[in-house]
Amino acid sequence: MSNGTVKDHLILIGLNHRTAPVEVREKLSFAGRDLDPLNLFLGIPVVREVLFLSTCNRVELLLVSREPETAVELSKKAWGEANDIEVSLFEKHLYYFRNEEAVRHLFRVAAGLDSMVLGEPQILGQLKEAYRRAAERRATGVILNRLLHKAFSVAKRIRSETGIGSHAVSVSYAAVELAKKIFGDLSGKQAMLIGAGEMAELAAQHLLNQGVTKLIVANRTLSRAIELAKQFRGEAISLEEIEDYLLKVDIVISSTGAPHYVLSAAQIKKLMRPRKMRPIFFIDIAVPRDIDPEANEIENVFLYDIDDLKAVVEENLAYRRKEALRAERIIEEEVLKFKAWLEQLKVYPTIVALRRKAEEIRRRELEKTLAHLKTKLPPEDREALEVMTKSLVNKLLHDPIIYLKNRYHRDGQQVVDFTRKVFNLDGEAPLEASPPESILADLEKAPKH
């Protein structure tokens, strides 16, 4: 490496909900194993940096190595061995991305574009957590540090510039979003759950999370009502009491197995005057429906059945898919920027060598001059000379360095070779003399953007 360029490769190996069934994903997630995957992969000699991401929908390994083929082979082997699974058993489910592709994939994952629910935000938190663990273990270096920070900022940019994360895409969230547009703030509001069921209970939980203060649970079997009420810290009532409680509550989630309407439009209409016309929102998740659809015609009564909510979700998903296209454009833009940085990385050893040489000359010449002076200079004057010579060197080097950084994209290695020849960087002070750590230290100091 006499010309001072070594290429660091980014490698991403992984499997997700589209490429592998959960049985395979969970086997590779190190779950329940007493082994830190970071330690395992860092133990492979050709691996320089590691990040390990494991969520319920994906397991991914991000590596930096100068010998990518060996790194991939050894990592797969170690991965399989550590989890007692033959490489051949999971190999067909793996996807591989290199360099630019790996960057793009990571950005897409961070923004939720690769998620099962398009645009979901949890993945960003999981990625941050994975990075925190890797950084704590010092498994990441210059490249992954920068890449991960970039991934977080790209995800943030996509969230703020596109609508990828807006609009509820699950039935229960859609119901909560509607409730908020009807009641504004949900704190201080009361809700009633008629019947039970997974989706209804989920919606009730969301409402409580949004500040609904009280939940009333009505059920055909009172014991079931009491059990649910305990779970949500609410009040259990029997079906006969519903009408009285309808005077108080603001939101009703209905999900009984009844073969006919539990509430008729006339019954609800009758309630409105005693309610002082306060709005009421019915979420009818039951099939067949519990609440007479005619009720939606009553003033200040809002009724959504399961199909209405599903239609809302479908529309919101279509909107997200449209916004995802805009997000992909942002990602392309950022991938290019990151690629430029990666490329630039290759000229850094040359820049470091250039700076070191200049600094050496400066110091030598300054000492020579000071030694030859007849009078000893006071410290202030020495300081002034130091500053002057330093700025001379910096100003002289400024343009060559900029030239190197900018032209490298176009002219590649040629520029580096040319610079090294012009400044004779490989003659008297060969780069091998400098330990790689110091280059990395210099890289760390390099401006982040």
């Binding site: 807006s166 509607l178 547009k181 504004g184 005057r273 003033e299 209405d308 809302v312």
Partner: protein, 276 residues
């Protein structure tokens, strides 16, 4: 000088309006913030133009159509700023109210603007009180109407289950209804005081409290509409759709009273006569 600041206010209001439209479209917080500070600047210019005109004329600038419309716009912006402080989640209201304030200023900019000596009948202690209070009450009725329109749009979105761009952009029904209610609760007492002070003044000037002048009649119609709305709201618990519609009916009565009766029907409020 007062006209210079008037024009400045008009331009700055127009910019603020565009800012609120941008916010309505993009929902970017920065747009709402920018529009709000622009509006504050415009309001400062507007206030200054009114004060300067008062100094230059030597009497409160509430005597002709230019001055009245300009003051009405000022009152509307004042009301908007009060509502905006009270309801943080209703920034898109600006996109409905500010165009009206701007249009009112544009309209007044087409009226004759010279300062004329005050006709003897207007030389009264009651002039600034009666006119200012009445005009500010109109500002709140415009706010009630604007929030009413927004309520009707939002309610339609939710009832028809077509949750489009408006659903996302407009505040919740609850907030819109409360803005409507608050505007009414401020506007109605002001209108009442405006009518009473007008009657007292009329007694001083013409010796009769009430003469069924067309303007008086329309003001009474307005008062009855808003009184009914307030009563239904407080006693029966009317809200939402019906309240929104009734505040629009009141707004219609106001439009007739302010733009048609004032201009074309002869009477004590016919501004055109004073500078004919």
């Amino acid at each position: 000088m007062n006209l210079f600041f008037f024009k400045l206010a008009l331009i700055v209001y127009a910019i603020a309006t565009v800012g609120y439209f941008v916010y309505l479209y993009t929902l970017k917080k920065e747009a709402a913030k920018g529009a709000y500070y622009t509006l504050l600047l415009g309001f400062a210019f507007h206030s200054l133009s009114i004060i300067l005109r008062w100094v230059e004329a030597g009497h409160p600038p509430l005597t002709n159509l230019f001055e009245a419309t300009s003051f009405l716009s000022w009152g509307l912006v004042l009301g908007y700023l009060i509502i905006d402080r009270r309801f943080k989640q209703a920034k898109t209201l600006g996109a409905f109210v500010l165009p009206v304030a701007t249009i009112l200023l544009v309209y007044s900019s087409f009226c004759p603007k010279e300062i004329l000596p005050l006709p003897p009948v207007l030389k009264s202690f009651w002039l600034p009180i009666h006119a200012a209070i009445s005009l500010v009450s109109y500002g709140f009725f415009i706010l009630a109407a604007a929030s009413g329109v927004m309520y009707l749009i939002q309610e339609r979105q939710i009832k028809k289950k077509k949750l489009g761009g408006w659903f996302k952009r407009l505040p919740s029904l609850e907030v819109l209804d409360r803005i409507n209610e608050l505007s009414l609760k401020i506007g109605f007492p002001l209108l009442t005081v405006g009518i009473i002070t007008g009657a007292v003044w009329a007694e001083e000037a013409w010796g009769s409290y009430w003469s069924w002048d067309p303007k008086e009649t329309w003001s009474l119609i307005m008062w009855l509409i808003y009184a009914a709305l307030l009563h239904e709201r407080l006693a029966v618990g009317w809200r939402g759709r019906k309240a929104a519609w009734l505040s629009l009916v009141g707004f219609m009565a106001w439009l007739i009273s302010f733009f048609i009766v004032n201009l074309y029907v002869p009477g004590a409020h016919t501004y055109v006569e004073w500078h004919g």
